[in-house]
Subunit: 294 residues, 2 copies
C-alpha cells in the first residue's frame, strides 16, 4: 500500500466539472500533477494552479506514479490509455491507471487486460455524488480491480471520496455504477411522472412533495430533483445527456446478459427523447419537460 | 375544532393490518369504538378489546360522532358509506366520515358530494407508512376536504399520524397518495432491475447495495426493499396486490387527464404480471421475481 503522506507524481486527464475539483484535492494532499488539456481556457487555469501541462497522454504518463482519467465514453478511455500517443506509450513499468469515467463493464475488462499485457495496473473507479460531491470531497467511489491495485489506489481516492467500496475484479466498479444509475434515474422519472400527474389534477405540488418526502416515497433524488421540478429550475448539476449515455451502456449490458428490464427500457427512451428535443445539456429533472410535450 | 382531550364515540370499519393498530391508538386516547367486522376471529378480538360490535355499517354510525373507514376499493367505500345498510342510513346530522382507503380521486369527490347532500361531512385521508407506521403511530396522512372538516379530523389523526398534510379539497389526499405510490413503486422496480442486472453480472449484491445507499441512488425503499431482495425475503409488509390495485387507479387517473406516463405504464404491467403469477400476497420486492421469470 502507498504511504498516505507520500508525495506522488500524478497524471490526470479529463479536467471537467468533476475532474477539476478532484485535481485540486490531490494537489492539496501534496501531490504533483501532470495534465493534458485541449481546451485553451482550462490549460491556462491548470498552468496558473501550478499543474504541469503536457502535449499528449503519453507525456502525462512519463514519470508519473499513477495516471487518473475522467473522460466520457468507453472509446475515449481506450483512446487516451491505449491509442496513439496514449498513456501506455509513456508508462514506466508498474504504472497504475485509475479510471473514474462511467463506461461499459466489458470495455473496462478489455482495457484492463490490454494494460496488464503491457505491465500496467488498472482499476475502474466510477463515482457518484456529482460536481458538489467532487468539490466537497464526499464522492462515493465504486472500485473494480485486484486487491493490491485497489489498495494502492485507496490513499488517492480518499482525497475526494468519502464512501469507497471495492465491488470485485476489474469491471465491478462499472457494474455497481450502472446499478446506481438505473436506480437513480428510474427514481427521477418516477418523480417526474408523479409531478406531471399532480399538475394535471391541479394539486399543490409543494404540499405533495412535502408529504412524499416524509414517507415511503422519500429519497435523495426526491430531495434534490423534486424542488427543481416545482421551481422549473432545469439548470444542470449533472447534464442529462450523460445519463442518456449511461442508460445506453446499461441497456447494452442488460441485453448482452439476456435480460429484459422494462423500466430501464422506458426511461432510456425518455432520456433519448430529451436529447432529441435539444434538452441534453439541462439537468435530468428536465425529464418532466419530456412528459409535458406528451 | 374538536377538543384534543374530548372522549368521542367513533365508528371504525376495516380492521385489517392497518385498521387494527389505528383502533388501538384511538382507544388509548380515550375514545369509544363501534365496529362492524365480518371475520369471526377479528370479531372476537375486537369484542375482547372492549369494542362495541355492530350488525351493519348503519349501526356503526348510529350514535357515532365520527366514522373512520379503511377498506380496499372505491366500490368498497361507496358500499360501506352509501350502500344498503351503509353509514349514511344511521348517520346523525353533522357526522364526519374519515376515509383512510386508497381510492380514485374522482370516486372520493363523488362520495363526498353524495354525503354532503345528506348533511354528512367527508375527508379523504389515505396514509403511507405501512403496518409498521400504523403500529408505531408514525403514519403520513394526506388530507383532502374543506378546512373545517379537516380541522375536526386532526385530533383523531394525530393518534397515529406523525406527518399530516392537508393537500386541498376532497380528492386532494388521494391525488397525493397516488403521487406517493407512483414514486414509491417505480423506485422499487428500479431497485429490482438493478439487482437483477447485478446478479446477471455476478457482482456482490451486498456491496453494491452498500455503495448505492451512500450516494444519489439512496432512498427509503432502497433501505427497506434492497436487503429483502438480497435475502430473498418476500414476506409482505404491504402486499403487492394492493400496489397493483393502486397502479390501476393511477393509470386510470392519468389516462382520464390525457397523460402518457411510460414508467407508470411499464411498472403497472409488471405488477399485473406479479399478481397473475400468484405472487400478489407477497411483498412488492417480489417484482424481482417477475424479472427473473424473464
Amino acid at each position: 500500500m502507498q504511504d498516505e503522506r507520500e508525495s506522488l507524481t500524478l497524471g490526470f486527464i479529463g479536467l471537467g466539472a468533476m475532474g477539476w475539483p478532484m485535481c485540486e484535492h490531490l494537489q492539496r494532499a501534496g501531490h504533483r500533477l501532470r495534465v493534458w488539456v485541449r481546451d485553451a481556457a482550462r490549460r491556462e487555469r491548470a498552468a496558473a494552479a501550478g499543474m504541469q501541462l503536457c502535449a499528449s497522454a503519453a507525456e502525462v504518463a512519463a514519470g508519473a506514479d499513477v495516471v487518473l482519467t475522467n473522460v466520457t465514453s468507453t472509446a475515449d478511455v481506450e483512446q487516451v490509455l491505449l491509442g496513439e500517443h496514449g498513456v501506455v506509450h509513456g508508462a514506466a513499468p508498474g504504472l497504475l491507471c485509475i479510471d473514474h469515467s462511467t463506461i461499459a463493464p466489458d470495455g473496462a475488462r478489455r482495457i484492463g487486460a490490454a494494460l496488464r499485457a503491457r505491465g500496467v495496473d488498472f482499476v475502474d473507479a466510477p463515482v457518484s455524488g456529482g460536481e458538489r460531491g467532487a468539490i466537497d470531497g464526499t464522492l462515493t467511489v465504486m472500485l473494480g480491480g485486484d486487491a493490491a491495485a485497489c489498495a494502492r489506489a485507496l490513499p488517492l481516492l480518499r482525497c475526494y471520496g468519502r464512501h469507497i467500496e471495492r465491488i470485485g475484479d476489474i469491471g465491478g466498479g462499472q457494474v455497481a455504477k450502472l446499478c446506481n444509475q438505473i436506480v437513480q434515474v428510474i427514481t427521477i422519472e418516477g418523480i417526474a411522472e408523479a409531478m406531471r400527474y399532480c399538475a394535471a389534477e391541479g394539486a399543490d405540488a409543494q404540499r405533495v412533495l412535502q408529504v412524499l418526502s416524509s414517507g415511503f416515497a422519500g429519497s435523495r433524488m426526491l430531495e434534490l430533483m423534486g424542488p427543481k421540478m416545482v421551481a422549473r429550475d432545469f439548470a444542470a448539476g449533472i447534464q442529462a445527456r450523460l445519463h442518456a449515455k449511461d442508460f445506453g451502456l446499461a441497456a447494452d449490458a442488460a441485453a448482452a446478459a439476456g435480460l429484459t428490464l422494462p423500466a430501464l427500457a422506458a426511461v432510456r427512451k425518455q432520456l433519448d427523447r430529451l436529447v432529441e428535443l435539444g434538452l441534453g445539456t439541462q439537468d435530468t429533472s428536465a425529464l418532466l419537460q419530456v412528459l409535458e410535450r406528451g
